[in-house]
């Protein structure tokens, strides 16, 4: 199936940024494509295929977020600093320091803001499509993204401040 070649990695990375770990993202990705393959005939072409595909992936992601494993993970990691430690220990995360801070800040966002930020910033979906996916108005989507972006920038600034103070100890 051609769509799987094209969309497999983007859907995995979308779910990876939503869920914060490889195992959950892998399971949700597999379930997404199983459902897509099974129900491709019911796709009515009223929306773009990508919108339909992302809506299936989004539902699988939300289902996983409600599961016990994700709830325990998020209970144990609530601040950007805690998520930074999580990604540092993650064997499947191989980013720069800046990417580490960015993804840590994103994981610390509330669920709705994280979803909008991931779809807009990483997946580069237009606001209209995000609105269609999430069922929120375009205005609400823009507002969510605005607040999410501010929180992410704030978190990254505090990382930089922390790094600066650690690299310049006061002289006694």
């Amino acid at each position: 199936m051609q769509c799987m070649d094209q969309w497999h990695k983007p859907i995995y990375e979308f779910l990876r940024t939503m869920l914060g770990n490889h195992e959950d993202a892998a399971d949700a990705t597999q379930e997404t494509f199983i459902q897509v393959v099974r129900s491709i005939r019911s796709f009515r072409k009223e929306s773009k295929f990508s919108t339909w595909l992302y809506s299936v992936a989004r539902r699988k992601g939300l289902d996983t977020l409600r599961g016990r494993k994700q709830r325990m993970l998020r209970l144990a990691h609530q601040s950007p600093e805690q998520w930074s430690n999580h990604f540092t220990a993650d064997p499947y995360f191989n980013g720069t320091e800046a990417q580490l801070q960015l993804h840590a800040a994103v994981q610390a966002l509330p669920e709705r803001q994280r979803e909008v930020f991931v779809l807009r910033y990483f997946q580069e979906l237009p606001y209209a499509e995000i609105s269609q996916l999430t069922g929120a108005s375009e205005g609400a989507v823009k507002a969510s993204f605005f607040h999410a972006k501010n929180k992410v920038q704030e978190a990254i600034t505090s990382f930089d401040t922390l790094n600066l103070s650690l690299s310049n100890p006061s002289n006694e």
Binding site: H8, Q30, F33, V37, G95, A98, Y121
Partner: protein, 111 residues
């Protein structure tokens, strides 16, 4: 902010292995869990409800049968209107019921 290069890695052969798993799972028919109630034929429901109704009727009749009565009130309820005329023995039993005697044979008179 850096976003062009994804920081996420996957194990070797991850996507190929997952595609094989997806096709294998998609080819299998989706499991339908049949409700145990739905799996019974519909006429069974009628038989079961009729049996329940019959059991309830029998239970009700047994409870109010005259042989189970300990008071006149119960006896009165369980005896059909067109029942046979009571025997002397039965009549005497009823007359021993204080409540019956007071309410029927000695109406209250306000003085």
């Amino acid at each position: 902010m850096e976003k062009q290069v994804s920081p996420f890695q996957t194990p070797d052969g991850f996507y190929q292995a997952q595609r094989r798993a997806i096709w294998q799972a998609a080819e299998q028919p989706s499991e339908k869990v049949e409700s145990p109630v739905r799996s019974l034929p519909s006429w069974w429901a009628w038989v079961a409800s009729s049996a329940a109704l019959l059991a309830l009727t029998i239970y009700w009749n047994v409870q109010t049968h005259e042989s189970n009565c300990a008071t006149f009130a119960c006896l009165w309820e369980s005896t059909p209107e067109d029942a046979r005329v009571p025997s002397d023995e039965e009549l005497e039993l009823w007359l021993e019921d204080d409540l019956l005697f007071e309410s029927i044979l000695a109406p209250s008179i306000d003085v």
